[in-house]
């Protein structure tokens, strides 16, 4: 994606072989207006994948996220056994594996893919057909789905990995759309509208478990989620993945030391497709159905959003992103139909404020707190938190008001709160005329809220400005850890 940069460096390396590092980038061709962001190709401070942590051996700290993940997956079913809770957890576990597999591409190799759902959907399709045809044990089904996904990766990777950067992204988009269009047109492939269903209890029993009840199926999904996550974590420590990191950071140099960037990319695509197929099959076990939706663009977009929100630089970033995404797509979606709007807004806010995702954001601020002490930063954080809260409240109020005006009775509770149901705007009518029919108090509340927002934002910025001279160095140090 940054071909001009890489080209300049390659030329520079060729012209001045005695100075291979260019630590200063004096002629940095891309960002003349940001000299404080020197982008070192080595990423010395990538959190999580930094080489110095690899040699230190496991510590209690590095096990903490695993423990948290296991507790999150295992504890709730013992507390309550409502069906929505299990469904939510199963969806989250599926999305965790899916997002981690996506991060093998985006985070580790720097490949942006818009067609990742194709692997998951096709893997699940193959698994469903195998399960219906052979009656194999359900326990092993995710492996079959993974194989199916990897097969598709072998095929699609041949075409896609000949390019990288933006071209790779667009080719995966085209391949993903090809699969979607084929799933709709070709008869008997995806079972048309209905999709292909399985009966998960129909397989042979496994230690007396039929996997018919939701709890048993969920236990299977959670165990596979942990196993797949551990496998991907192990994979991310292998020399092959280090080569992939090299290909991400500087393909020209990686090629110069004797590895083929296209082959490395191909290998990563196949591996990532394997785990994506696994995730798709976990979804199949959960809902007992694979349909055209499971290959669609919505799904590809969702995994991209989850991974970016969580952060690509840390291994557990995508896990956090998956939690956030399923929070929006399950819990927020059950309350309001505006959930997609909120998700898009949150995504844009994350990309603007913290391009390295929630994980990078947390790591950055943890480093600052460690450097300056909590007491000194307290005022700034409190004001910021207040400002963020107020802004969120204002945005939610405005969005719910607009949605209630547009969709009226459909919007349910919000429509009733804002005092209108039947007089919602008809399709094609401008929103302003719909809004004018609304009671006026939300407008007043919104204006008041916006005033408070402006006030707290002012205080927050002032508090941050007081910290700025000290924070300046920390920011430069941590912002060089971003993903390209």
């Amino acid at each position: 994606m940054r071909k001009r940069d890489a080209g300049a460096e390659a030329r520079g390396a060729a012209a001045r072989p005695e100075r291979p590092e260019h630590p200063e980038h004096p002629e940095h061709p891309e960002h003349p207006e940001h000299p404080e962001h020197p982008e070192h190709p080595e990423h010395p401070e990538r959190p999580g994948t930094a080489p110095q942590t690899a040699g230190r051996g496991p510590s209690a700290r590095s096990f903490a996220p695993w423990l948290a993940l296991a507790v999150f997956l295992a504890l709730p079913p013992f507390v309550g056994s409502q069906s929505w809770l299990l469904a939510y957890l199963a969806q989250t576990a599926t999305m965790i594996v899916f997002a981690l597999s996506y991060n093998l591409l985006l985070g580790e190799t720097g490949l942006l893919s818009f067609g990742h759902a194709a692997y998951a959907g096709l893997g699940a399709l193959i698994a469903a057909r195998m399960f219906n045809a052979t009656g194999m044990p359900l326990v092993l089904l995710p492996l079959v789905g993974g194989m199916g996904g990897a097969l598709c990766g072998l095929l699609f990777g041949l075409i896609a990995t000949r390019r990288s950067g933006t071209a790779f992204a667009m080719i995966t988009l085209g391949l993903g759309e090809l699969v979607v269009a084929a799933a709709w047109t070709l008869p008997g492939w995806f079972g048309g509208e209905a999709g292909i269903a399985i009966d998960r209890a129909s397989g042979p029993r496994f230690f007396g478990l039929s996997f018919g009840p939701a709890r048993e199926a969920y236990a299977l999904i959670a165990l596979w989620c942990l196993a797949a996550s551990a496998a991907m974590f192990a994979l991310s420590r292998t020399p092959f993945m280090r080569l992939a990191n090299a290909v991400r950071d500087n393909p020209a140099r990686a090629a110069a030391i004797g590895c083929y960037p296209a082959r490395i990319r191909y290998g990563v695509v196949v591996l990532s497709a394997f785990f994506a197929g696994m995730a798709g099959t976990m979804g199949l076990v959960n809902i007992e159905l694979v349909s055209t939706e499971s290959v669609g663009m919505m799904r590809s977009g969702a995994v991209l959003i989850a991974t970016v929100i969580g952060g690509t630089a840390a291994f557990f970033g995508p896990v956090a992103g998956a939690l956030v995404l399923t929070f929006f797509s399950v819990i927020v979606a059950s309350v309001t139909r505006a959930w997609l709007f909120y998700l898009g807004l949150f995504f844009v806010a994350v990309v603007l404020a913290a391009p390295d995702g929630l994980a990078g954001f947390c790591a950055r601020h943890a480093a600052r707190i460690a450097a300056q002490g909590w007491r000194r930063r307290r005022a700034a954080y409190l004001w910021s938190a207040l400002a963020v809260l107020l802004w969120s409240a204002a945005v939610v109020l405005a969005v719910q008001w607009a949605y209630a005006a547009r969709f009226g009775a459909d919007e349910g509770a919000a429509g009733a709160i804002f005092g209108f149901g039947a007089n919602a705007g008809a399709d094609g009518a401008p929103l302003a005329s719909a809004l004018s029919a609304v009671s006026w108090w939300p407008a007043v509340a919104l204006a008041l809220l916006a005033a408070f927002c402006a006030l707290t934002t002012r205080y927050a910025m002032r508090a941050h400005a007081r910290l700025a001279p000290q924070a300046g160095r920390a920011r430069v140090a941590s912002s060089s850890g971003e993903t390209r």
């Binding site: 075409i159 080719i171 085209g174 047109t185 020209a252 977009g301 391009p355 401008p430």
Partner: protein, 312 residues
């Protein structure tokens, strides 16, 4: 077979509409280095705004106001948002446009509702232009072709002849040098982004009477436009033109044909299961742009007119 010429003309007009979109996309890509994922959403916004303006002030003012309004929005997007993440490289920029596509899609649903709308064809342009062997060629399609060609000519003229075009082309390859000479390169970027989105909105406003205006139109056309840009070679304007015409003609001819897959494949001596053989080419038409993409990339990874394959 008599209607072949008319179908070809229909395909050309569709291809030129695709070109109006892919030209803006290519312009923005070669300038800013970022593929504007929200491009098709700006197209959709142009169609909706054009619909609303046409309902009040008539079709012709819609053709002016919709591109201007959406172009201003594009300029604001570039100036306030895209510029902020530029320091972090191209990936956040692409992601930002991706998020913007979601937001624009939701805003359109919010502003105009979920249902499909149909824009009327203006009375002057209604009806057939001419008939060939019973198949008629719509006057509106001819108008669309004329506008696209005029836009192509204007684009070439501005980029090749005018002083502005000189600055834009120089800023493409040597932004530092152009800035050192006293030109405001960030403003040029904003202008190019605004021009690209305005072109997309113009395509939306013009294409609206031919297609149904609905919230899904961005997705359905957007992926085809991205395919066109990759087939033509990323960043190549002439490649975008050739690929647009290719995709437009092939897809239109496939839709209009009544040949089945079995008949096509029997020429090659391949036999498929009977329910596959019964598929008509018209049913397979949605697959065709993507199959073309795979075929072109298998033979020529950089696209038809693309430059040397990049590593990064």
């Amino acid at each position: 077979m008599q209607s072949f010429i008319v179908n070809l003309l229909n395909g050309l007009s569709y291809g030129l509409l695709l070109f109006m979109l892919s030209a803006g996309l290519t312009l923005i890509f070669s300038m800013l280095g970022v593929l504007n994922f929200a491009h098709a959403s700006f197209y959709m916004l142009g169609a909706y705004v054009g619909f609303s303006v046409a309902a009040r002030a008539g079709f012709w003012s819609a053709l002016v106001i919709a591109p201007l309004g959406v172009g201003l929005l594009g300029a604001a997007f570039e100036h306030w948002l895209l510029r902020r993440v530029r320091a972090h490289g191209h990936l956040p920029e692409l992601l930002l446009t991706f998020g913007a596509a979601y937001l624009l899609g939701e805003l359109v649903k919010l502003g105009w509702g979920l249902g499909p709308l149909s824009a009327p064809v203006p009375a002057v342009l209604d009806g057939p232009l001419f008939s060939l062997y019973g198949a008629s060629f719509a006057r509106y399609r001819a108008f669309m072709m004329a506008v696209s060609l005029a836009m192509l000519a204007a684009l070439v003229a501005v980029l090749r002849v005018s002083r502005t075009g000189l600055v834009v082309r120089a800023a493409l390859t040597h932004p530092q040098a152009v800035e050192a000479l006293g030109h405001n390169v960030p403003a040029v970027f904003t202008g190019v982004f605004a021009a690209g989105t305005a072109l997309a909105a113009l395509a939306g406003a013009i294409g609206a009477p031919l297609f149904v205006i609905e919230p899904a139109m961005a997705e359905s056309l957007g992926s085809i436009v991205f395919v066109v840009v990759v087939i033509g070679g990323l960043g190549s304007l002439s490649g975008a033109l050739v690929a647009s015409l290719l995709v437009g003609c092939v897809q239109t001819l496939a839709v209009a044909s009544d040949v089945s897959l079995g008949e096509v494949l029997s020429v090659a001596g391949v036999a498929l299961p009977p329910d596959w053989d019964a598929l008509t080419l018209a049913q397979l038409a949605p697959l065709i742009p993507y199959l073309l993409l795979v075929a072109v990339l298998a033979l020529r990874p950089r696209g038809l007119f693309g430059r040397r394959g990049d590593h990064a």
